[in-house]
Symmetry: C2
Subunit: 385 residues, 2 copies
C-alpha cells in the first residue's frame, strides 16, 4: 500500500492555478471572474469543507485581473477560509433575508474593477450559478455599467488538466476504491439484500481510507442488471446474479469513480463474453489516449469493439477530479484535444436484453507517452464468487 | 427499535402534493412551474437516485396548471422515472453539446401552456436554477411570448410543512443517528486521530441503518473546539478534549441532522456549565414551538438563555427534510408562522474563548399541541468518557 499524498496543496500550487486563470482572463478581456460553486472556489483557494451540503448560503470568490482573489462569504466560513492562502476575506452574517451578500459582493466588484468592466462567470456546459436567480438579477442591477458575461469556458478548460499533485490525490482515491473492490467478495453473499450490500460496501470504502462516499450505484440480477442509477432495492442476492458496484468515493477532496462486476456462481456464456468485450473496449480506448487524440476518438474506439448494441446512457466515460463527473465527455461530439494530465473514466456498457446490461469502468490519466491506469487494471474474465 | 417506515410514498401522497402546488399556482396566476433541482423534482415525482452527484446533466420537471407533470430528462434516467407515478417522460440523449434539452423543454412548455403564459420557477431565498445560465438564456429566447418569473416562494412554503409520511422518514433517520451517537463512546478513544474518528462514525451510521452519510462535521480540542465546518484534522484525541460530532445522514431520501458532545475525562466546570446551558436553550425554544409562533420567537428564546456571548454562525437552527438544511432559519428576521408538520433543528452555540466553542443540536416536529422531539432528548450533563 503506497502512502497517500499529504493533505491539501502548497500555496505555490494555488498561485500557479491563479496565474493560469488570470492569463486566460486577459486573453478574454475580463476584468474579474465571479465564482460561486464548490469546486471552482476550492480549485483556487483550497477551501475544503463538507458544509456545501447545506444549500442555504451563497459563497462567492472574486478573481481580479491582477492581484489576489477576494472571498466574499458567510461569516460561518471565515475561520476556515482564513486558514487557506486567501488573505482578503469579506464576510456577512448569512442567512440575511434583506441582503444575502448581494451588496457586499457588488461593493467588492466595484472596488476591484473599472466602471465599465466585463465580469466573467461560467455560463456554459456543465456550469452552475450557485445563488438564487433573484439575487443574481439584483446583483446585476447594482454594479453600474459593469456587465456579466460568460467566462468562455476558462474554468472548464483549465480544470480539465490536472496537476501532478491533483493526479496523486485522484490516484490515492482510486487506490482506496481498488482495495474496497478487492474485498467486495466478503460482502456479496447470496441471500443478502442489495441495500445491505450497498451499506457494507460503503463501510469497506471508509475502512480502506475514503473520507466519504458521496456516490454509490450498482445492481444485481440474473444475467445482467437494469438501469444503473436506481437506489438499491431490498431484493436478496441470488446465485446466478451478476452484481455490479460503482463507487464514487473521495479522499482529500478528490474522487475515484469506477466499477467492478462479479458473477455469483459461474457466469453464463453471454455474460462472460460481454464482460470480456467491455474490458477489451476500455483497453482499446486507453490505447488511443495520447495527447492530440480526442474524447470522440476514444468513444469511437469503444463503439467499434462493442458492436451495434444501442444503450442510451449518453456517453462512454468522462473526466474525473474534484467532482464525480467532469468534462470532457466521451461522446462523438467532444473534440477536445487530449492533453497530458487529463484524467478520464472509460465506461463502456453493453445491452444484453430487455432490462439487462453490463457496465465496466476504469480510470486513466493521459501522459505524454500514453495512458496510465489509476484504477487497478483487470483482465477479461468476470470474477466468479 | 421501531421498525422504519416502508420505502417511498404511495402515489396518493405525490398527487396530494401536486394538488397543493397547482392550487398555489392558480393563486399566483402561473400557467406552469419549471423545477430543476433534486429535492423539488423528487418531492413531486418520487424520483430518488444518488445520480444527482454527477453535475453534468440538467433535469427538468414541468408542472402544468392542470393535469399531470411532465418529466423532461436525460435518457439515462428514463427507466427510473417511469417507475414513479409520472407517465409523461420526454427524454434526450445527454450530454448533447448542441442542445442539452433546451429545445425539448421549450417544446414541452409550448405544448402545455398558452402563448402568453407566465411560467414560474423558484428564484427566491435558498433556491437554485440547476442548469447552465447560457442554456437558461437560450430557453427564454425559445418560448415566444411566454415569460419566466419567480414562483413567489410556492415550493419553499409548501415543502416546509411535512406530511405524516415525511415526518416518519425523518424520524427514522433521526433514530439511526441516535443509535450511532449512543455507540460513539466505542470510537472516541484518546490517541486516535479525529480524521479516523470521522471515518468510524460514518461506519456506525451505516451499521445502524443510514443509506448514506452526506454530511459529517465535528471537532475535538481542550475545553471546546474551533469552527465546526472544517474537515477533520489528523490530531489525535486527548484526555481533556471536548469532542463533538454533527451527523447529516439520510435514509430513504430524508435527513437527520443533529449533534452530540462528549468530554474525554471529567469536564471542566465551564464546559459542563456551557453544555447545560445549551440544552436549556434548546428546551426553551422547543417549549415555544407551537403553531403560530415564529422562528424568531425560538431564536430569541435561545438567545435569552445563552446570554450575551456573540458567535456569528448566522442562525440557531433551521428546517430539515429532504435536504440537510431547509427553510425556515432560526433568526430574528424569520417571521414565518410555525405550522403543524414543520420539522426544525434547534442549534444553539456558545463561545468559550478564542477558538473555543460548544454547539448543541436537536430535531423537533411542530404539532398542534406542541413539539415532539425526533432526536433522542438528552439531559444537561455532558457525557464523560
Amino acid at each position: 500500500m503506497t502512502r497517500p499524498p499529504p493533505r491539501g496543496f502548497p500555496e505555490a500550487e494555488h498561485r500557479a492555478r491563479l496565474a493560469l486563470v488570470q492569463a486566460a482572463m486577459a486573453a478574454e478581456g475580463l476584468a474579474a471572474l465571479l465564482l460561486t460553486t464548490e469546486p471552482e472556489i476550492r480549485w483556487i483557494t483550497g477551501f475544503l469543507t463538507r458544509f456545501w451540503e447545506s444549500p442555504t448560503r451563497p459563497w462567492f470568490l472574486v478573481v481580479p485581473a491582477q492581484g489576489d482573489p477576494v472571498a466574499v462569504i458567510p461569516s460561518i466560513g471565515a475561520e476556515l477560509m482564513r486558514a487557506t492562502w486567501i488573505r482578503d476575506v469579506w464576510t456577512w452574517s448569512s442567512p440575511d433575508y434583506a441582503d444575502d451578500g448581494v451588496s457586499l459582493l457588488a461593493a467588492t466588484l466595484a472596488e476591484r474593477t473599472p466602471p465599465d468592466a466585463g465580469i466573467g462567470t461560467p455560463m456554459g456546459r456543465e456550469s452552475l450559478l450557485r445563488m438564487p436567480l433573484g439575487d443574481w438579477h439584483a446583483l446585476a442591477d447594482r454594479i453600474g455599467r459593469r456587465r456579466f458575461r460568460d467566462d468562455r469556458g476558462i474554468m472548464r478548460a483549465l480544470r480539465m488538466v490536472k496537476s501532478e499533485a491533483e493526479i496523486d490525490k485522484i490516484a490515492a482515491a482510486c487506490a482506496v476504491a481498488g482495495r474496497a473492490f478487492a474485498r467486495a467478495p466478503e460482502i456479496l453473499i447470496p441471500g443478502r439484500p442489495l441495500s445491505e450490500v450497498f451499506r457494507r460496501f460503503q463501510i469497506l470504502c471508509l475502512e480502506e481510507g475514503a473520507d466519504q462516499v458521496p456516490y454509490l450505484a450498482g445492481g444485481a440480477a440474473p444475467g445482467g442488471y437494469g438501469d444503473v442509477i436506481s437506489p438499491a432495492s431490498d431484493r436478496p442476492l441470488e446465485r446466478g446474479d451478476v452484481a455490479m458496484l460503482d463507487a464514487g468515493l473521495s479522499r482529500d477532496g478528490y474522487f475515484a469513480d469506477f466499477d467492478r462486476n462479479w458473477s455469483l456462481g459461474p457466469p453464463a456464456p453471454e455474460v462472460a463474453e460481454a464482460h470480456a468485450r467491455l474490458v477489451e473496449a476500455a483497453d482499446a480506448a486507453a490505447g488511443l489516449a495520447r495527447p492530440g487524440a480526442t474524447p470522440a476518438d476514444l468513444f469511437h474506439a469503444m463503439r467499434a469493439v462493442l458492436g451495434g448494441g444501442e444503450l442510451d446512457v449518453g456517453r462512454l466515460g468522462h473526466g474525473l477530479g474534484m467532482q464525480l463527473t467532469e468534462p470532457p465527455s466521451l461522446i462523438a461530439a467532444d473534440l477536445t484535444p487530449l492533453r497530458p494530465g487529463m484524467v478520464l473514466t472509460l465506461e463502456p456498457s453493453i445491452p444484453l436484453g430487455p432490462g439487462r446490461m453490463l457496465v465496466h469502468e476504469e480510470v486513466i490519466v493521459v501522459r505524454e507517452d500514453g495512458p496510465r491506469f489509476l484504477s487497478p487494471r483487470i483482465g477479461p474474465e468476470i470474477p466468479a464468487i
